[in-house]
């Protein structure tokens, strides 16, 4: 599905604005060949001639993008099966989400797909995008601009998959893939998570979850994979079937998801930007050993916001060791506040040395640095480059200033693998996710897994 050699766009169209046109335009960007299939098509698209059926393509197509109305899908799946196509995306809606007839159609489609051993993404999805290979299996415009990153987005909604991917672009991060599961005919959370756990370019997996009929399988998969997973469960105000029973009236579905994710080692957040921030922190950092955050700030106010947020969200601000306090005192005699958070009062040349001292503190598991950009000083790129790997702890950085002025330094930090955040709150949320992740995993989630083996 996500790593094909040749793609066919079934229902490709030369009429601008049609799904079959947009999908073909996007598919044509693929590093491999993309073939237009449509019995009523004529001529060529992007140099490839139209053919009547997938079977007529003179190549081993392994992914078919079905730009067809729902009722036409079963027959085309048979053709795909006969042609040996192993995966298909169904964009059309009107399936299980649309009443009894749609449910029946979806059942038929799944049956045919299983018979032919075809993995199905959708129906009712915007598809998926793998920027690294320019595999743009989506009819949405702009997906060619989504940069490559190391976070895999697995969203229940095709729309949210795009929301998240476009957000990562604005954040300068990108995705290893963004996938909208839609109705999850036979590729669901479990299959997608397992795939991206084994995907080389993926260092973190984020989930957008509305609700699934096998919550337990989802959680067990999350626990069994090595790649960090963060989840955003939507629908706090929803009350599921669970609430109908007597004891269940005490709760909603949402509480079970939240409790279940925590129990199975998955930190949860409640906003799209927090989800991506969490992924950046987890994906770009060594795994923290504990929930203790050392904060270094050049300005007191943001440091207080950060401290407050971290503590409210499950992180801990430990006291620094006497050795670290002495060390900081030596670097900066008369420092404003030399415990945690360390407040240097303003950016200064020795800021990076202070960060290093805190990062090397044995009481600290996670480091969060905040400073407003100061033109004359820049960021302590040299000290931060490689620091996280050396101390084997996450080191997060947050700043504010004029974008153009700080762009170069920011790029240098990102180049060095330092996760950068734009507000004190977002950096603090990300640090708190690291803290919760460390807590869940230190608390024996992994131990249970290995005990099962």
């Amino acid at each position: 599905m996500f790593d094909p050699t040749a793609v066919a766009v079934v229902g490709a169209s030369q009429t601008e604005g049609k799904v079959g046109y947009e999908a073909m335009v996007n598919a044509a960007a693929f590093d491999g060949p993309a073939y237009p299939v449509n019995p009523s098509g004529s001529g060529t698209m992007f140099g490839e001639p139209f053919v009547d059926s997938v079977a007529d393509v003179d190549d081993a197509v392994d992914l078919a993008l079905l730009c067809l109305p729902g009722p036409a899908v079963p027959e085309v799946l048979d053709e795909c099966g006969a042609a040996g196509v192993g995966a298909a995306v169904i964009y059309a809606s009107g399936f299980a989400e649309a009443g009894e007839e749609g449910e029946q159609l979806q059942a038929t489609v799944v049956e045919r797909a299983n018979e032919h051993e075809i993995a199905l993404l959708g129906p009712n999805t915007s598809g998926f995008v793998v920027p690294e290979t320019s595999l743009l299996c989506s009819f949405a415009s702009g997906v060619d601009e989504i940069p490559t990153g190391n976070t895999a987005v697995v969203a229940q909604s095709g729309g949210v998959a795009l929301v998240l991917a476009f957000q990562t672009r604005r954040q300068g991060r990108g995705v290893s893939a963004t996938v909208g599961l839609g109705n999850r005919a036979n590729v669901g959370f479990v299959e997608a998570i397992e795939y991206f756990d084994g995907h080389e370019g993926t260092d973190a997996i984020v989930l957008h979850v509305e609700g699934t009929d096998d919550g337990r399988a989802l959680l067990e998969t999350c626990r069994n994979v090595d790649t960090p997973v963060v989840a955003y469960k939507v629908g706090q105000s929803d009350v599921g079937e669970f609430a109908a029973s007597h004891t269940g009236a005490l709760t909603g579905d949402h509480a079970l998801y939240e409790a279940g994710f925590a129990q199975y080692g998955v930190p949860t957040v409640d906003a799209t930007d927090h989800l991506l921030d969490a992924a950046a922190a987890l994906g770009d950092s060594p795994t923290p050993d504990g929930p203790n955050v050392g904060v270094v700030t050049a300005q007191a106010g943001p440091g207080i916001i950060i401290t407050d947020r971290i503590q409210r969200a499950g992180g801990v601000l430990p006291e620094l060791t006497a050795e670290t306090r002495d060390r900081v005192g030596e670097i900066l005699p008369g420092i404003t506040y030399a415990d945690n958070p360390v407040d240097t009062g303003r950016p200064m040349p020795a800021f990076g040395e202070v960060v290093t001292a805190v990062a090397e503190d044995d009481n600290v598991d996670i480091v969060l640095v905040y400073e407003l950009f100061e033109q004359a000083l820049g960021f302590p790129v040299e000290e931060l480059d490689g620091l996280a790997e050396r101390v084997d702890k996450p080191v997060l950085f947050a700043t504010e200033g004029i974008e153009a002025d700080l762009a170069e330094d920011r790029a240098a930090l990102e180049e060095a693998g330092v996760p950068v955040f734009e507000t004190p709150e977002r950096a603090a949320q990300a640090a708190a996710v690291l803290a919760r992740y460390a807590r869940f995993h230190a608390a024996g989630v992994d131990a249970e897994v290995s005990a099962d083996v």
Partner: protein, 232 residues
């Protein structure tokens, strides 16, 4: 299958009686008050004398789920401290049952001083998406109004059960509040663990232990409602 569940299934019942529910819990290691089911007022008095006063007398019948609302309150009599009081309460229950054409016994049970501890709810159920689940919360207003409950997928080990209790906002009330003794949280966690195991191992749709009386010395299940899954 446990004997209690097998008996209920054999009768074509989906709901266990309180006595069956408590035996099921007791077999799983949960403390329950001493009790006896009696078929006559005389037997009830005899049982009360054996258990020791004060006792509680309740209607016991598969046909009666909500005992305290049954027969204008005749279904549950608490704080009975004499043979005469037990005989009266039991007679009222047998008469009300006869009037309603209900086949009933009475359950005579050792009375527990609920003021001596904290009432906690422990529930288990089978969720369509998550399967067996346990939840816990402090009794009464804390759960019903403030919705301060904590959930886990079952089964849970003792550590996880304890964590579920400790993450309640009201957990501080268990640690001793205004001079009260801290309750035995480990004993409470054992109830959560046992309920999780029961829902996991048996075809139980819902298991309500409401309340569990948690004291400094342990945790006792004062009531038990067990509803079995359809068919199975």
């Amino acid at each position: 299958m446990s004997d209690q569940i097998a008996d209920a299934r054999a009768d074509g019942r989906q709901t266990l009686t309180e006595a069956e529910g408590k035996r099921l819990l007791a077999d799983a290691g949960v403390a329950v008050p001493s009790f006896e089911e009696c078929a006559s007022a005389d037997a009830a008095v005899e049982a009360a004398e054996a258990i020791g006063f004060p006792v509680v007398v309740k209607v016991s019948s598969p046909a009666v789920t909500h005992k305290s609302e049954w027969a204008d309150g005749a279904g549950v009599a608490v704080g009975l401290d004499s043979p005469a009081a037990v005989a009266d309460a039991a007679t009222r229950i047998f008469e009300a049952a006869a009037e309603r054409g209900v086949d009933a016994e009475v359950l005579v049970e050792q009375a527990k001083d609920v003021d001596a501890g904290t009432e906690v709810i422990v529930g288990g159920l089978r969720d369509p998406s998550f399967g067996p689940v346990v939840l816990t919360g402090l009794g009464g207003v804390f759960t019903e109004v403030f919705e301060d409950t904590s959930h886990r997928l079952a089964p849970v080990d003792r550590r996880e059960a304890r964590a579920a209790i400790e993450e309640l906002q009201t957990a501080r009330l268990l640690e001793g509040y205004r001079g009260s003794d801290p309750v035995d949280v480990d004993a409470l966690a054992a109830v959560v663990e046992a309920v999780g195991d029961l829902v996991t191992e048996h075809s139980i749709a819902e298991l309500d232990v409401n309340p569990v009386l948690a004291t400094a010395d342990g945790a006792v299940a004062l009531d038990a409602l067990v509803v079995l899954e359809d068919g199975a």
